[in-house]
Amino acid sequence: MPEFETLEHDVLVIGAGGAGLRAAIEAAAAGVRVGLVCKSLLGKAHTVMAEGGIAAALANVDERDSWKVHFADTMRGGQYVNNWRMAELHAKEAPDRVRELEAWGALFDRTKDGKILQRNFGGHRYPRLAHVGDRTGLELIRTLQDHGIHQGIDVHMEWTVVSLLKDGERIAGVFAYSRERGQFKVFRAKAVILATGGIGRAYKITSNSWEGTGDGHTLAYDAGAELIDMEFVQFHPTGMVWPPSVRGILVTEGVRGEGGVLRNKDGKRFMFDDIPENYRSQTADNEEEGWRYTQGDKNARRPPELLTRDHVARCINREVKAGRGSPHGGVFLDISWIKEKLPNAQEHIKKKLPSMYHQFKKLADLDITKEPMEIGPTTHYVMGGVRVDADSQMSRVPGLFAAGECAAGINGANRLGGNSLSDLLVFGRRAGEYAAKFAQSAKNPTLDQQQLESAARAALAPFDRPTDGGGPFQIQYELQEMMQDLVGIVRREDELVRAVEGVQRLQKRAAAVGVSGNREYNPGWHTALDLHNLLTVSEAIGRAAIERKESRGGHFRDDFPDKDPQYATFNTVLARAPDGSMKLRREPLIPMPPELKQVIEEMK
């Protein structure tokens, strides 16, 4: 019988992005033994790349802001299929979470009177995003990291969790391998928090790093938890399109927040052509008003470039399809034009958007203070994820929690920019608190040797298989191409059905894929093990997208281009049936209490 090195914790956190770090800090503060496992080095998680800011109704720049406005904006952005309780908690608690970062050493950009500065972002009625230039994610993750290392958290970097262990119904710990050395370890824990981030790597064009392979989604699903809202994937309107090697890399919405405009090849600001009814009263109807809004004029309405991401991405898609795109299949995003308005525009742009300036200069030989950028949509964020209780973040598996991008509910059909970083803090903290509570009253779980052995066997299987049938990278590329083509921004029933069949074929191939080399830092092996996760989330997205025969938020159906009130009443829920197949059901929305309904009415 193989023996595995076993470590003991009360709470084990998987993931060291904003959500995982915040959860670990909170659990440690409750006095329990906390472990933290992550695939990369500390401080490198996807959160580090976030640019634009953290949404919180601090009302530092516009005193009319409040949690109520933030709540209403989030629900409107999510097209009312959000979990209202999560949206409420998020809007109420985000300001404290941001201030707390300052108490831990973060240095946000300031207003003239010395408060935390806030900027405009799509779908937020008032300037609401606390930020540091365009490197807010770095500030957030570094602050949590530097605070966290003094809290007695036991950190394991470059370990990948490959399965969750159970003791009957409840969670018992996790099984993981070391990326560096390839050995296995068992982490026994009374409570486990998933904070594994997103799924962007299921698509070819994405802003996500290699880590975004849907691990937490799949671990939870395999362990008996449910996934909801998987049809809702966010395609960010502005990713780089040229040169090819940088395709998909994000261009922050902050560019538009600072006055950047979108134009087609004829120089037309096409966003004025299509303003959705429910945003019309909040949107500028001329260019001058839009500019005044970005410069802080409180009487001006936002320019249409700052409509929600789903809408902007579709408008760009339409321009490109109609032959009005830029030379490399995108459209133009221009911030350099503000030199007509501001005397020191060049310096101003460099100061407000330093990393965008740097990114284009270095990677595309383009000076954004002088020329327009070429941009197009990129797979960015998944609204769907593990179904959790709004207050505690626990899934239906006792002791299994999820927070951050891998959990779902707060965003509904579309996430507003800036609402993720605040989500990580608010619900990371809650998950930490409730997981610690759960652990304090739970007995030590018993490990099942059989589960350990089968996890180890499955992890090593690729080494015993022939390597001639196409490597793991090839399967991954095929999946990414297929998802991009068939389950992208614009969807159709027949294509979605083909995609789900395609995923099933690739699942068979993935189950037979072999790898060469040894267990030490072997990317081929790592990719072979990631395939199961990528394929599981891809199947989930495909199935949920077939079920929702309407267009809402991030989910747009060419064959059902309108919103259908029938579909405003439920979320799609996926779970694993006893025979291993993926089963879908519709879960009615929880009725919203009258006082929140009234808030939404007031803010219309």
Partner: protein, 246 residues
């Protein structure tokens, strides 16, 4: 399409050698793309770290043609293609495999530096006020992406291996950032001299030259810190005053 030849270090702690590879070069390609292409096509087990591919996470540090750089921000177009491009791991840290080194020492060092200790909130709303001008400097240091290229190039670590006596440029700017935070009340000056070896730095500025974030490590952080140490430790009057004040 033009072609590029590479010599990539393959091996582990026990030893290794450069191995030859070649790839096509497409427009805008960076070294990390080439490494990924080699990895996907002919060397599935070639080890390298990366995350963001946009110079934001500091994972992909390596030595390219002998120069410490981020692979994701080094364009093929900026390298001479008439001879092979060498790609090897950072030398200041123990090798794990291929391009991946064991940088855990850096994480251990950071823990030895006293954390942020803010003064009590003093604005009416229970927070603080800070002016933008007063935080520009520490904000510059907080741009650090922990790529450890400055640590790699610093001769005190690279050639003299004084890892147990000197924290290196990355952690000098980390200390500077804390010391210059307008809210901080901590005192790290004695540690800088006695524990963290600031005296070993002889201001060669090699660190500043390699920093991909263009942080002015030496002029803006190390020299001011050195001045603080000198003011405090060697100025008899200050010393006396401190003793008198207790």
């Amino acid at each position: 399409m033009p072609n590029a030849n590479f010599k990539v270090w393959r091996g582990d702690a026990k030893g290794g050698a450069f191995k030859d590879y070649s790839t096509d070069v497409s427009e805008g390609m960076v070294v990390l793309d080439a490494i990924h292409k080699i990895q996907a096509d002919s060397a599935n087990d070639l080890a390298c770290r990366w995350n963001c591919k946009a110079g934001k996470c500091g994972s992909c540090s390596a030595e390219i043609n002998g120069k410490p750089k981020l692979m994701c921000m080094t364009r093929m177009a900026d390298l001479p293609l008439d001879r092979p491009i060498t790609v090897e791991p950072m030398k200041t840290f123990p090798l794990i495999k291929d391009l991946v080194t064991d940088v855990s020492w850096n994480y251990a060092v950071k823990k030895t530096i006293k954390g942020f200790a803010p003064r009590k909130p003093d604005a009416p709303d229970g927070t603080w006020r800070m002016q933008q001008d007063d935080i520009e400097r520490p904000q510059e240091f907080r741009k650090c992406i922990e790529c450890f290229l400055c640590q790699d190039v610093c001769h005190v670590l690279r050639d003299h291996h004084l890892h147990d006596k000197f924290i290196g440029p990355r952690f000098l700017i980390y200390t500077a950032q804390l010391e210059m935070n307008p809210l901080d009340t901590g005192d790290r000056v004695p540690d800088l001299k006695h524990e963290h070896g600031i005296g070993f730095c002889n201001i060669t500025k090699c660190c500043t030259k390699v920093c991909p974030e263009e942080i002015t490590i030496t002029d803006n952080a190390i020299i001011p810190l050195k001045e603080r140490v000198v003011d405090r430790m060697y100025d008899p009057l200050t010393k006396l005053l401190r003793v008198l004040k207790g």
